[in-house]
């Protein structure tokens, strides 16, 4: 009876997590209200480059939209299963917290080079825990196919530390490698860990707040958590080395943050009102970053007007398109045209200089959209815009209020 009850609870938890993560990951896709489901630059970049472009070759837009989503649901279930092995009490809450974190949503929204490696590494850890066979560690090397060397290296290191159960033999090389990484990091500079400070894959500041209390709680039993602290330290040091490791760090920090939340929940508050307010603020803080990330994903460019412009550009004769650098990947992927940008051309008002560059680079079209215009020009008579507006060699062949396409006819 007890086993059946246990199974029921577990299947309910699995179902809840599937529905919850599917809802969160589908929401920005369906509410984009755009002709194209894909937003941002990352997905378009990976549709053009590397192994991911081969995987998506069957149906690029469908694969790039839904494959990360499916992997997201799978990885959330794997994360839940892994935590169920390690600390059952926080498994479900941790999975919910990670599902609403901006890093997770961004990771499984875009067709990027990390969603497969992260899911694979979760699978590896799950298999090691489930079968109690350390040989599964070799699966991690598969990650190198999809990802960069740093992520693979750190994952191998973390897995080794975990398997070693804190043996001195593994401790020395781990510390050595971490030291090496920190030494190198001094030369690479720092970056923000926080989503609120503009790092798309970053952690919510409230996860860090809660993790602080979680770590305090864990320090009380520091020897039981020795492996965890080493993993935490290695990934933290690794972060300075490669900023993309922040995605991995999220999976390491979230269980600790959940422990912190649990600590605040069970704390014997001297003042109940303060206690309730602190918990309320923690939850609102976590949810605020979720709302922010979903809002940003919904509003992401390209929008309807831009897509219309790109489609029109696609129908035109072949030729090089002059446009702002961050429009390049869309012009290449959607309009299937070659893109070119040159600052000298953007800022010049001298037709002779402009003509020389245009002829050298065989520019045939100029793409201008009102969203990106202010990045280079203050008004429609500034720099190259002046030439386009007043020189008769440029014809305005398309204009939808947001996008205008000009053709150069000498």
């Amino acid at each position: 009876m007890k086993i059946i009850r246990q199974k029921l609870i577990e299947s309910n938890a699995n179902l809840t997590l599937i529905v919850f993560s599917a809802f969160l990951l589908l929401y920005p896709i369906f509410f984009r209200d755009k002709g194209f489901l894909l937003g941002g630059i990352t997905s378009y970049y990976n549709l053009n480059n590397g192994l991911l472009s081969y995987i998506a070759s069957i149906n690029p837009y469908i694969v790039a939209t839904y494959l990360p989503l499916i992997f997201g649901i799978i990885s959330l279930i794997l994360f839940y299963k892994i935590l169920s092995f390690l600390d059952k009490n926080i498994a479900f809450a941790s999975s919910i917290i990670i599902a609403i974190s901006p890093g997770f949503i961004n990771l499984y929204h875009y067709y990027n080079s990390y969603f497969i490696p992260i899911t694979l590494s979760l699978l590896t850890f799950y298999l090691i825990l489930k079968t109690q066979k350390d040989n599964w560690i070799y699966l991690i090397y598969l990650i190198a196919i999809f990802s960069d060397i740093y992520l693979t290296m750190i994952l191998v290191l973390i897995a080794t530390i975990y398997i070693s159960k804190w043996k001195t033999l593994f401790l020395i090389p781990s510390i050595g490698i971490s030291g090496f990484i920190s030494g190198l990091s001094l030369r690479t500079g720092s970056f923000s860990l926080l989503y609120e400070l503009g790092t798309k894959e970053g952690l919510s500041i409230f996860i860090l707040f809660l993790a602080f209390f979680g770590i305090r709680e864990m320090l009380k039993k520091k020897y039981s958590y020795a492996s965890y602290f080493l993993i935490f330290f290695v990934s933290l040091v690794g972060l300075i080395f490669s900023r993309d490791l922040i995605i991995l760090f999220l999976f390491i920090v979230t269980p600790v943050a959940t422990k912190g939340l649990d600590r605040l929940w069970t704390h014997n508050w001297k003042n109940l009102m303060i206690g309730r307010l602190v918990l309320f603020i923690s939850v609102i803080g976590l949810l605020f970053s979720t709302v922010m990330v979903i809002g940003n994903l919904i509003d992401e460019l390209p929008d309807d007007m831009m897509i219309d412009g790109f489609m029109n550009l696609k129908d035109l004769d072949d030729g090089v398109v002059f446009a702002a650098p961050n429009r390049g990947i869309w012009i290449k992927t959607i309009s299937e045209k070659e893109h070119y940008f040159n600052e000298e051309l953007a800022y010049t008002r001298d037709f002779e200089i402009a003509k020389k560059i245009i002829n050298e680079t065989k520019i045939k079209y100029v793409w201008i959209d009102s969203y990106g215009m202010n990045d280079y020009w203050y008004n429609d008579e500034d720099g190259f815009m002046f030439i386009i507006k007043y020189n008769q060699d440029f014809d305005n062949i398309y204009n939808n209020g947001v996008v205008s396409i000009w053709e150069f006819n000498e």
Partner: protein, 501 residues
């Protein structure tokens, strides 16, 4: 001295600070800095926008996004209905807010020192030169933030009482919506925890809980208000997107001479002595006093740290530092009074005290008087406003921008109702260095072509040239080229030109 007497003395201190400020404020019809006019415009905009908060300002920086704490403007929305009286009412309100600071200084210092010392430091706070430098005849959120911050400290000290705890919770939520400077108190509380740990002073659990709440609520509200600016600028938001060439001016190196010049000699000297006495005797003090001394020291340390790291505007940092030092100096004044009492001529204490107060009045009052006179002297004049209004009334080019240096951008927008190239609302402005350099180059250049190119770039059709700008760049290209720059206003304080080319 009894409490009734103290009440009357503190009332006299508050009233004299209030009268002192109004004496200077009413010497001019205008406010004493350009940012006041930015705030005034936002208050007036609320009425025009049907009380919806503005997220975009079409006039500031030629049109830019706004990242502002909205509550400050909502608190004064009613001023928009007062017509020509609004300036007078705002001058009175802001003078009153600043005048209240000595009361809170008194209340806090009273917790750690004797009545005479507390009254003495509150009178010093009432005439702190740096405070007037930053707030006299100005609309500034700091006039609200400072008193509330001090009262929050007082509530925190007395948080064992339900009444103060409730006030602390409510005020910390409200003040977080008014200005991000409240984060300074948040940081002070964190440093307070660290210092207490270092001094082995056990902080009661309820106070730790209050600190946790305060840190979290201020962080959450700032994230909600500034999420857009934060995500686009990251940690650089601290520098408020200031042009690189202005960074060193506003986030200056901290040095003692500057400190003495704007705070005076006595607060730093007595403040440092106060910290010394406080920490020297910390083991023998009662628990409550210990905590308060560490808390005030943390406040001072936070201001010093921010100044040293150059992450706070220099003079704003000095205001916080000055107030902290004044509060803690009550400890050293106490010490001095006890020493004098034990002198052979202890009977002369009364006379000593009177001489002491008179000495203080002479030093502090006169340095404040000098600072205040200077501020009023530098305030915009009716002649300057006349030239700005002539730009406003120049119907020929109604929708174009007006060129003015960054220091006068907000005057231009308020008095002409037209766009400026650049002002102090810099968050979210793209290519800020280029914009700032262009706004300077238009005055510095000797070439009409360069000036006209810049004017074309920003759709400028009027140039405002105040006396201070003329003196700063020592050039007037526009006067020499009458073909392209037509003078539409001239008086002994300012000039205005219309661009014809």
């Amino acid at each position: 001295m009894n409490n009734k007497k103290a009440f009357w003395i503190i009332s006299i201190i508050i009233i004299s600070s209030f009268v002192f400020q109004l004496y200077f404020s009413f010497q001019t019809d205008y406010f004493s800095d350009e940012i006041s006019y930015f705030h005034l415009r936002q208050i007036e905009n609320l009425k025009e926008n049907n009380f919806k908060p503005s997220v975009y300002d079409g006039l500031s920086n030629g049109g830019s996004d706004l990242s502002l704490s909205p509550l400050f403007y909502y608190l004064f929305f009613w001023v928009g209905f007062l017509g020509s009286f609004k300036e007078i009412i705002l001058k009175i309100i802001f003078a009153a807010l600043i005048s209240i600071i000595p009361l809170f200084v008194y209340l806090i210092s009273r917790e750690i020192s004797s009545l005479p010392s507390s009254l003495f430091v509150s009178s010093m706070a009432a005439f702190l030169p740096i405070l007037f430098m930053q707030s006299l005849n100005k609309i500034t959120p700091y006039a609200l933030v400072l008193p509330v911050m001090l009262y929050l400290i007082y509530c925190f000290i007395n948080a064992n009482k339900e009444k103060y705890l409730k006030q602390f919770i409510i005020l910390s939520i409200i003040i977080s919506w008014i200005h991000p400077a409240i984060m300074i108190l948040s940081l002070s509380f964190v440093i307070y925890l660290i210092l207490s740990y270092g001094e082995s002073v056990k902080i009661p659990v309820n106070k730790k809980e209050i600190i946790l709440f305060f840190v979290m609520v201020t962080a959450l509200i700032q994230i909600v208000i500034y999420h857009q600016a934060l995500s686009s600028m990251g940690s650089k938001i601290i520098f408020q997107n200031l042009p690189t060439s202005l960074l060193s001016e506003y986030f200056r190196d901290f040095n003692l001479i500057d400190l003495i010049y704007v705070i005076g000699t006595l607060p730093p000297l007595w403040g440092v002595l106060g910290i010394f006495y406080g920490f020297k005797n910390i083991r023998t003090m009662d628990k409550n006093k210990k905590e308060i001394i560490i808390l005030i020291s943390s406040f001072i340390f936070t201001a010093l740290l921010l100044l040293a790291l150059k992450v706070i505007k220099f003079y704003i940092g000095l205001v916080f530092l000055g107030i902290g030092l004044i509060i803690i100096s009550s400890l050293s004044i106490d010490k001095i009074l006890i020493r004098v009492k034990n002198f052979k001529f202890g009977w002369a204490l009364k006379y000593y005290y009177i001489i002491f107060v008179l000495f203080m009045i002479i030093i502090v009052f006169f340095s404040s008087y000098a600072v205040s006179s200077k501020i009023i002297e530098k305030t915009i004049t009716s002649e300057e406003v006349f030239c700005l209004e002539s730009i406003k009334n120049d119907w020929v080019h109604k929708d174009f921008s007006v060129a003015a240096p960054i220091e006068e951008g907000d005057y231009v927008t308020y008095f002409t109702g037209k766009k400026n190239i650049i002002d102090w609302n810099l968050m979210g402005v793209k290519n800020i260095d280029e914009k700032y350099n262009n706004s300077v180059d238009i005055y510095k250049t000797e070439s009409s072509t360069i000036a006209l190119n810049i004017a074309n770039k920003y759709n400028v059709r009027h140039i405002y040239l105040s006396d201070s700008t003329k003196n700063k760049y020592n050039k007037n290209l526009f006067e020499k080229n009458e073909r392209c720059f037509e003078k539409i206003c001239e008086n002994n304080k300012a000039e205005a030109y219309r661009i014809k080319c």
